[in-house]
């Protein structure tokens, strides 16, 4: 269930309504992303930055923005992990971190996610203790719409710590 898409959808609806009426977008338009249940399970604090997890072939994508203004947050450190064709969530080799670009986007090439504990899902963390941007920690646990897909997206909307 892609709970994380609701704040974004709400924002899009709110901002298009604002555009349609000629009003400036409200600062309160973009709601922060709440941490998802189970999101932090098997997290490894401080996992190393990497260009790719394992052999790759599956693409995790997403954005990191500020609550309210929706401004992108460049250089935000996002850790990604999952049960894949190459290992369990708990394996150190299943974890890797990356930084967002100038537009607040990140992506990670990683092995194919396979169903584990009943759902094909990934884990993502923005950990305020390991990032100099100064936002509150958020853990996400997006579920794939189908196990055969080769991409998964998760967006963060963060609140200053």
């Amino acid at each position: 269930m892609p709970i994380h898409s609701f704040p974004r959808r709400t924002f899009l609806i709110a901002s298009s309504a604002a555009l349609a009426t000629g009003l400036p977008a409200r600062a309160s338009g973009l709601a922060p992303t709440p941490t998802m249940r189970g999101g932090a399970n098997n997290y490894r604090p401080g996992a190393a930055l990497t260009d790719r997890i394992g052999g790759g072939g599956f693409l995790m994508t997403g954005t990191v923005r500020q609550a309210g203004s929706g401004a992108p947050i460049p250089g935000a450190r996002i850790q990604i992990w999952a049960h894949t064709t190459e290992g369990h969530e708990r394996d150190a080799a299943s974890h890797g971190a990356t930084l967002t670009d100038a537009a607040g986007r990140f992506q990670m090439d990683m092995p194919q996610i396979v169903p584990a504990f009943g759902q094909p899902h990934g884990h993502l963390a923005y950990d305020g203790d390991y990032d100099a941007n100064g936002f509150q920690t958020v853990f996400l646990r997006p579920v794939m719409a189908a196990a055969g897909l080769t991409t998964l997206n998760a967006d963060f909307v963060l609140v200053p710590a």
Partner: protein, 190 residues
């Protein structure tokens, strides 16, 4: 002849899922303890189907069907222990979330409900001599139905362990058998 057909149908529904799950391509990506935990769950679900059928003599020809029912009951408890224990070893935080009803997965609550009902059934069985026969029967049948329906919902909502068609067939048979047993034992009448 009729008895043999009923046996064949029951055993296919109960144990076909084990054979089909053994062909899952995901097994290659899982550690032995996680695989064992999954198969313990599937086996327990299959044995659960036989329980009301043995108790009500739908499955005939056994010399001591009630004795078999009791032995299978103990085996189911052992398999549930292996199921939860194996998952715990695989990923402790996910099992803690499930047991404390904080899991993000909708199937966990049904599995934990069935787990507690199974433990309550075992406890009730141990205390059977202290209970009035009517109290015992109502308690046992109610817990049996909760275990069966909880297990069916639990399995149906899980992706990636059982083969979907055989899972749906077993879940439907399990739900039907437990409710039929309760009705036949006049659980719902005064």
């Amino acid at each position: 002849m009729r008895s043999a057909l009923i046996w064949a149908a029951a055993l296919s529904l109960a144990f076909g899922p084990l054979l089909l799950a053994a062909g899952s391509p995901y097994l290659a990506f899982r550690q032995p303890i996680y695989i064992a935990a999954g198969f313990a769950g599937i086996a327990a679900m299959g044995l659960l189907l036989l329980q009301p059928l043995l108790a009500h003599r739908v499955l005939t020809g056994l010399p001591k069907p009630r004795r078999v029912h009791a032995v299978l009951g103990a085996l189911i408890i052992a398999l549930i222990t292996l199921h939860v224990g194996g998952l715990w070893i695989t990923s402790p935080p996910d099992v803690i979330d499930a047991l404390t009803f904080r899991s993000p997965t909708p199937f966990s609550v049904w599995g934990v409900l069935a787990l507690w009902a199974a433990l309550a059934a075992a406890f009730l069985t141990a205390r059977r001599r202290a209970l009035r026969p009517k109290t015992w029967r109502r308690g046992h049948l109610t817990l049996g139905a909760v275990i069966a329906l909880g297990t069916a919902a639990h399995a149906l909502l899980i992706e990636g362990t059982m083969e979907p068609m055989s899972k749906a067939a077993l879940a439907a048979a399990l739900a039907w058998a437990s409710l039929w047993a309760a009705w036949r034992s006049r659980l719902f009448s005064r």
